[in-house]
Symmetry: C2
Subunit: 763 residues, 2 copies
């Protein structure tokens, strides 16, 4: 793990702080200071304009433009279009002029630059002193937030304090679809209007035909003049503010955005709908909305904070992770999901991966069950596309895409799109996990069952048989570990499918008793044939699971143990990432793995396997893994903690919470690693906290890293909050809420309720 921190921001328990501006760190800071509210996101760019290196980003979750994917040769099942989240309208657009001089941090004289992302309140504030060529000084303060309550709403406040003069200042504030060349080409502007009640604009993507409506009003006591400014893809107001020396003038911009993601919606209807929503919300009051917004965050921190005593870096880091997870997704809309970079950058095209079920769902199960349900509802909503995808691959049932923004497979590389078939199984896992933790039978019986049937059907149509034993397995696949491309009987995949089929069969049995009518409905809807469950039982009972009975070692896939060995420490650090420096085929020819595969199975189905098996497999696979996925170290950390390798666990944890704050992978400029951020949460709660959620009871076996004095975390479980505080000597458990919670602590079953107060268990 040749990963080195690039520390830039100030360490603080409740904020991300930048003191002084370093242009070379500009794009990283844009990612780190990104705001989002699930519906939309904005990068932390300088809205007043900036002639230096930057990437403006105003995104809407699920809103994409389409590009053609070209292949040297085309075969069936290849993907021909890529749909990627794109920059839309710069609704924070601002230009500020004093005496004809344009404010531009890259060129103007600036001092005392200071930026703070206030995690406790969910606001981003930036301040600096601007001194004009005439020596006039102005203290500029920019504040922005995206409402966590009303997703369409965004706010900007610009405060200007003239330090040494009185006069006027000109500000242009607008809505801009021509923000940068690359995104400008994607948009046509269909309509723009300066109405009595708002300024509004409507844009449409050229190829995908999706709409974005944006509108705003400006408020200030200091406006003396105002006029409309228009360009082909821009509308705004130019206002003149009067400034009195040493008095703060404030300009507030209230914005209502509306993104219509259905391609064939008539533009007129979108405009009408946008105006209606804007009329409803633009009347709102800035301070009032800010207060509601901060209350939301206070509630988050009150109930679901993690504290670490004795490790300020990780304290800041984990709070930043929790903050990002809540602002990226919190269950307001079941047609949305989580992109690999959230709403903070365009890398990975805003697309959803199996990360959602394998890495993120756990956080929401124990922090926000509504959001957990929505993540799964999203998959239900795109079930038709998964059925179509299976058909493209000559299969039946539902094959969920490896990478997608809208439900259709969006990965242009056939070797991933056609061979990585573990996503459907991971979704079945998610349904199973959600049922186990949240017990939401409404979802399971109405939607989950339909997905499960189609998922099993897919695998049953894709499975093949060993010619000698007749046992079942998957051939020609790429596992989770992407360094072995076209292999047979990937152990984790086979196990995942076996378990998915077993679960589906158990749900059918359960529904026969508890919900026979809903079962009948599901059977009719899916056209389930009577012999299918029997086939699934035969497959699951006879699945090939490659394990050396003597050692307990699982073999990652057929022949893995006979692959040439490479000492990963012999690879020069400068070779990483290998995809950039090694001949493509060379990556696939050894026992080196990119990320946990067998170990992922041992993590997800943790309680299916005894300690010794976990230990022997960890010790075998860990030295073969180069962690070229940011998702990888946390899983290793969690398993290392379980088998008592405390130092190794902390070493793998080291960069989990601060992956982006310290730009460990040197690519935070492209956006935050949102799904890895979820793994950081798991790293503490599952790793040091020892949470296990895949068995009959919730289990907790807290340990504590040497470097820490104490730490605490809270999980929402059965509508109550279970808080866990871990010190060097004890683990202390407390329930807030009405539930009686069964929990196995250090292998002993406890039943805890609020009235028990603190249960102290010595470590």
């Amino acid at each position: 793990m040749a990963k080195i921190a690039n520390r830039y921001f100030k360490v603080d328990p409740w904020a991300i702080i930048e003191e002084g501006f370093e242009p070379s760190y500009g794009r990283v800071a844009e990612s780190v200071f990104a705001l989002a509210n699930e519906y939309m996101g904005v990068r932390g760019y300088f809205e007043e304009g900036y002639s230096g290196e930057r990437q403006i980003g105003c995104y809407f979750n699920g809103l994409y433009e389409e590009t053609e994917v070209k292949h040297p040769f085309v075969y069936k099942g290849f993907v021909h279009k890529s749909r990627d989240m794109c920059h839309t309208v710069d609704w924070l657009f601002t230009r500020i002029m004093l005496d004809g001089e344009l404010l531009d941090i890259a060129r103007s004289k600036i001092k005392d630059f200071f930026r703070i992302l206030d995690l406790k309140n969910g606001t981003l504030v930036r301040e600096y002193i601007w001194e004009t060529q005439d020596g006039k000084q102005l203290k500029m303060t920019f504040e922005r937030f995206l409402s966590m309550i009303t997703p369409n709403l965004g706010f900007q406040s610009i405060s200007i304090l003239p330090v040494n003069f009185s006069g006027t200042i000109d500000i242009i504030s607008g809505l801009d679809f021509a923000g940068d060349q690359a995104s400008e080409r994607k948009w046509v502007c269909l309509k723009k209007e300066n109405r009595e009640d708002m300024v509004a604009i409507l844009g449409k993507t050229k190829r995908s035909g999706l709409h974005v409506f944006s509108s705003f009003v400006l408020e200030s006591d200091n406006i003396t003049e105002s006029r409309v400014i228009e360009d082909e893809k821009f509308i705004g107001l130019s206002v003149r503010l009067k400034l009195n020396e040493n008095e703060t003038a404030t300009l507030v911009k209230k914005v209502v955005n509306y993104a219509e993601k259905k391609p064939l919606t008539p533009s007129e209807a979108v405009w009408k709908q946008g105006v209606e929503i804007a009329q409803k919300y633009l009347k709102t009051d800035y301070d009032n909305e800010l207060q509601i917004h901060t209350s939301y965050w206070h509630n988050v921190w009150q109930n679901l904070d993690i504290t670490i005593e004795g490790d300020p870096e990780n304290q800041q880091g984990i709070r930043y992770c929790i903050y990002q997870l809540h602002q990226t997704y919190h269950g307001s809309d079941p047609t949305l999901n989580i992109g690999a970079k959230g709403l903070t950058g365009e890398a990975y095209g805003g697309k959803t991966y199996w990360d959602t079920e394998a890495y993120c769902l756990q956080f929401y199960l124990f922090n926000n069950p509504k959001a957990a349900r929505n993540l799964l509802e999203y998959r239900y909503n795109v079930l038709p596309q998964a059925i179509e995808r299976a058909r493209e691959l000559d299969c039946e049932g539902a094959c969920y895409p490896i990478s997608s923004i809208d439900g259709e497979e969006g990965c242009g590389a056939w070797q991933h799109a056609s061979l990585q078939i573990h996503v459907s199984g991971s979704i079945a896992y998610g349904i199973w996990h959600y049922d186990k933790i949240c017990g939401d039978k409404d979802f399971l019986y109405n939607k989950g069952i339909e997905m499960l049937i189609q998922i099993c059907r897919f695998y049953a149509s894709r499975v093949q048989q060993d010619p000698h034993t007749g046992k079942y397995g998957f051939y020609g696949v790429m596992g989770v570990d992407e360094f072995h491309m076209m292999v047979n009987n990937n152990c984790f995949l086979n196990y995942l499918v076996k378990k998915s089929m077993e679960f589906t069969l158990s749900v059918i049995e359960e529904m026969k008793v508890n919900a026979p009518d809903l079962l009948s409905e599901a059977i009719v809807k899916t056209g389930l044939k009577s012999n299918e469950p029997e086939t699934w039982r035969r497959i699951s009972e006879n699945m090939i699971i490659l394990q050396d009975k003597n050692t307990g070692l699982f073999e990652q896939h057929d022949g893995y143990f006979r692959l040439p060995h490479i000492d990963i420490h012999s690879i020069p650090v400068t070779d990483f990432p290998l995809y950039n420096s090694w001949s493509y085929d060379r990556i696939y020819r050894t026992d080196m793995i990119k990320q946990p595969d067998v170990l992922m199975m041992l993590f997800l189905y943790n309680q299916d396997f005894p300690y010794d098996v976990k230990k022997v497999n960890y010790e075998y696979y860990e030295p073969r893994c180069i962690h070229e996925s940011s998702l990888s170290p946390s899983i290793h950390s969690i398993l290392a903690a379980e088998i008592g390798k405390e130092d190794e666990a902390y070493e793998f944890f080291r960069f989990a919470t601060r992956l982006d704050l310290d730009d460990y992978n040197r690519n935070t400029c492209e956006g935050l690693h949102i799904t890895s951020i979820a793994a950081a949460w798991m790293n503490i709660v599952y790793g040091f906290g020892g949470l296990r959620s895949d068995g009959e009871y919730l289990k907790l076996s807290p340990s504590i890293p040497k470097h820490w004095k104490s730490y605490s975390f809270r999980i929402l479980y059965k509508n109550s909050i279970l808080s866990v505080t871990v010190t060097k000597d004890n683990a202390i458990f407390k329930v807030q809420g009405d539930s009686l919670i069964d929990v196995v602590i250090y292998e002993k079953l406890y039943q805890i309720s609020q009235s028990d107060g603190e249960i102290i268990v010595s470590r």
Copy 2:
């Protein structure tokens, strides 16, 4: 083998005859009637213009235009440009008008259409009666040939017999770079001139910057008027011929072409060079050149014909194959090679594959040793590109491309370009085979050794070790059978490399004794380190060769025997070719193979393996092969003949000689399967003739298909001709020439010379 003949041409022992014209067969006929002379080729298109479906094709061997190859994702080793043979200048361009009426077979009134490719003389003649709207009838005769002696020379003769009138006719004859839209875009015309001594034009490809110069003179006793016609990319003459009823008027066009394939050559120099060559050859006489040309062919047939008594279809078929092989390549230029479609169409981009060494070289070894040497010299000439390619793949030495027109890897699909590494080994095989049969030590010691060293060095840098046994093998490869993509220890590849290394080491030992100075030169040139041969010995001695010791079965690659089985006869005929109808990944998941792989090893290294091993492997692999390569059936036929499966041998042979004449694969329209045509020759000589050329002595074990009365073939060996005639009862051997030939006939060694006359061995 669901392959069905589409019989269209008349069966004739010495000609391909078309009686009456069927437009739907037009493009197939264009391929079948293609002419070539190694330097250039023309499809059998109607030079007088044709408004129906057609593909004009005037090609130069090795002359290409470049296009960009696009990938969804780009990694190291990916190919970024494709260089493909393209249509150049239509030097047969003709338009014929009578009374303002344009001759166009698609629209004019035509009868008694007749076309003949005269194999004995190497000419293409076409005749028909054209009746104009006024009822004037003209018997039109078109003849063309490409000189087998002087490669730049092409000839056209148009004879016109006015049946029922006298008058005049207008003919435009020219040089056209704007023949069709697709090719027109590739060319700029740099210069065109109507000189006293010729009409000439110079074109240059837009991207690759290669030049084609073309020039002509017209001759006719009937010309009354002549004027120049020019267009942007065209120059020609419009001539008026006087016609007297019932007297034939003839217009002869003599053409000199010159293609300059070095990209940076100044255009002026090309023009100058073109004019010089033209001045030299345009003075030539049509009849004289025709006579020299036909003499060449008479010589071919006299010395190297194959006859079949009792099977007119295959008699015609095999002569057509022999004809195509000679006209495609006969050793005039060592910078040229054989494209998969020869010079008959643009499919496969005129690129050379491993087919050259694996399927074509044998023909030339026994028909034209000079051509065999040139094929290998070509590989020597592109050694620098192969060295560069190895570097791109993080390897050393020389990795020859899977598909290339100019020596650089030209296959856009990484899965083939990066994984199919058997080409270098096949070239080493070719060097070995050429040395064995032709004993050309000049080539071996001066050029072959250098290639062998670089080839061994490549494999030594690519080989890896089994972690348990330390034995050597190749991982992450695609074998000859392209239905298993990323496999380990492909048996044939490992064996090929083992043998290539053994051969190289033996050549080094031989040269230490026979040519120490040349060896020193080769060592200096290649920078051979003293430990390298030792390494190659260790690798070759410890190569993994997967074979079941009990059954003798070779395993195609690691794990092949445990792949799910598919009954290939269960696949609907309409599914073929699978690449077009199956999901890409589905093709790779069973034990179905595309073409012989283990069996190819048993064919190429035939005498290394005992009869039983060949039999058991044939019987295992044959039912798993779907022959989706046209190269496949002949190899099966040869091995079937060897193990006594005579009916099966004939069944596989059935379509070999007539693959294109009967358009078995329904894609002859794209060009002839030139390399399969070479396999057809092998099918008779190695298959029924039982020739084996890989052991100490030449071996012959002729058998005869039930359907045949007798057959004969001849091979050039040690400067003499060994002719073999096989009847139902006997095999008769005869030597013409000065050599004493050692040959094992039916396992018994004979020494035969011309003075022995006919040696009759009873079958």
